[in-house]
Subunit: 461 residues, 2 copies
Amino acid sequence: MSTKKIPHRLYLTEEQMPKQWYNLRADMKEQPDPIINPATGKPAAVEDLYPVFCEELAKQEMDDTTRYIDIPEEVQEMYKIYRPSPLCRAYNLEKALGTPAKIYYKFEGNNTSGSHKLNSAIAQAYYAKQQGITNLTTETGAGQWGTALSEACSYFGINLDIFMVKVSYNQKPFRKAIMETFGGKVIASPSDTTNAGRAILAEDPDNSGSLGCAISEAVEKAVTTENCKYVLGSVLNQVLLHQSIIGLEAKQAMEQLGEYPDVVIGCAGGGSNLGGLIAPFIQDKLTGKANPVIRAIEPASCPSFTRGKYAYDFCDTGKITPMAKMYTLGCTFKPSASHAGGLRYHGMSPILSKLYHDGYMEAEAVEQTKVFEAATMFAKLETILPAPESAHAIRGAIDEALRCKETGEEKTILFGLTGTGYFDMTAYMAFNEGKMADYIPTDEDLAPGFAALPKIPGIQE
Amino acid sequence: MSTKKIPHRLYLTEEQMPKQWYNLRADMKEQPDPIINPATGKPAAVEDLYPVFCEELAKQEMDDTTRYIDIPEEVQEMYKIYRPSPLCRAYNLEKALGTPAKIYYKFEGNNTSGSHKLNSAIAQAYYAKQQGITNLTTETGAGQWGTALSEACSYFGINLDIFMVKVSYNQKPFRKAIMETFGGKVIASPSDTTNAGRAILAEDPDNSGSLGCAISEAVEKAVTTENCKYVLGSVLNQVLLHQSIIGLEAKQAMEQLGEYPDVVIGCAGGGSNLGGLIAPFIQDKLTGKANPVIRAIEPASCPSFTRGKYAYDFCDTGKITPMAKMYTLGCTFKPSASHAGGLRYHGMSPILSKLYHDGYMEAEAVEQTKVFEAATMFAKLETILPAPESAHAIRGAIDEALRCKETGEEKTILFGLTGTGYFDMTAYMAFNEGKMADYIPTDEDLAPGFAALPKIPGIQE
């Protein structure tokens, strides 16, 4: 380990920035199970994806052999406007906790989208532009992905329709406003603009929406609109590929400091940030170079890793997408309305699901009041108000650091701070006023066939 | 000039960060006129300030001889959590404008307060803590200063009462929420908690507030509360001192790139950012080392430089503070309710007023729809959604770059991007929907004795 003083924030130089993404699948001994066309029951071919996805992105989706994929020049140029993101040492947090652990975080919130989502949004908009696509559709939950994609589409001159989960749409008028500032068109989902939306509203006119439902609408809109494709900000293999820049930069910066993490912690919804952050560390595990603990932190109110089934399921509520083998709560699951922020997807990235299933990573579910306690503590000490999603990872890092305090272990912890909470003040207000509730799905809340899932250790047992 | 590729963002290393603030007054050939105690008509002594200000800050306020003042270790440590801020090259903006000019900006928004205000907030809270002060009061307009000071007080364990201009308080519930998250207590001003507030409400129960009024309330609260002092985020000499870190870092980063600005542009409300940004460049002018153009951009709806009188005036509406010689619209002036964001103070930093009066800098007033046009253009190109205040400087930089396009001059422009606009979405929504109005004060709007002020060139003439 280096003896020099470790700075509070380390930025790589522009020259040091990664010029290739890392494709984790190339190092996996066993591949995730293929996505399946539900009509045929057979694995989908890359061509099967072209009606929905941009071709280059569909190829990236299916590519499990190319270890490093060049980041196109124009994408690199855009990355340079807001990257590299800093690797930060949480000195104040360490001191306040009285832990012997060293806590690092990779901060992805220093851009107007407010999160890491811009890393993939730029790539996806770029490939769409290259293909001559003029229209994109997508969905957004908390709004970070929608904001990021609005920014990217604005830059590349692409029209964008965003289906925003209704509960977020209503709670976050300013999220909508920022997407509109960048030219995105925002539609509350479920909406009456698609068959999928109308079907859900017919059954339940007050349906407050879910990511799964918004995906159905966005996919339907894409395939029924001329020169239009669908893009997604999480879950997909291509997204994890683009997000690998987080982990690559983090690892490189730690190496520069003579550091290597004992524990890598990320929040998990669909897996975009987690998959990107942990990619090069999983590589070390897969290749036998190192063996850090990798830990996903997810909401107890949407606990796909810790309570889901590892099974083939639809990626959307309307069952119009292919099926993926993943940890899932069932495609009709939606988290309680009391659940704040993102991390509300019923399933989980197939890559991460496979790694978790094969024992390469752990997962832990936490309740949101505990998450906001961690968020508020962190904000006061480290001067960054975290997004509720990111605060799950903070909670995980604090818990790990407190365990180190008990055992005296001087572990090196790295966590992903994916974004900022400026558009989540309604949730912070609820927390400040003692009005925030915790909720754990009951058997009744779960999709048919998903009842009697395992209990969450430490919370339900 | 260096031939190497200039990066999009340059961060100094932690070791390169300034360890001293620069006190511009030490190099001024003629000093700003002293502040005057209105009761005696005589210049105030440093002791006269102690009932209101922390002692060390009062000393800094009066110190016009010490050129460099050490930044205390603990303040340096806090700076390192969010600094150095990047010097950015606006390549995309240059390209979109088709200008031969090079556009640089110093971005101060990468911290949760969302602006440069944290630079002085930390210093002021630190000195209060050192003196054993347990309570502080302040005012805030747009909310950036209140947020910054809440963060700083939370860190140093000081209670804070924030008088927030009522129109902002009502428009920005989330600004209030973030201050409360950091433990600040927020009161809409004018309030019924002070004599000053009650007097204003008695005359006009619907008074929507002004910075001048909020200052009266905060000062009154400070002098009537035990172990309580008043702090201010702009206008004062001490604030410009602390903010000099912006200019010092910017100049150092430009030197590292082999660059020097031909034009330095900053937005101006009370002068905190502008005074900090331009300090080392004004030094070059004062000492004959260089002669860059220095330009303040202010709102046409609150045009103290371009339409104000250079005269002694109260710093607050309630006339309980000392009087300062400054460009002022009269201490009872308040901008139209249609004016969005900050930059709403009736006066201007006495240091900047003197420099302007003596011809060391220029000033320009711009209308807010033009400002939001610039803001939106910048956001789309540079992926940062600017605060309305900061967007005044963007407007100035764009206008300068467009002049360069006409003349073919390859000027190097540096502007200050003070903060982000995440809490200003109401204003962006008004702009997006075509509902934003411009307003220029009429003679009737001006304070008694301030009618028939000069017209704004290019707007009123």
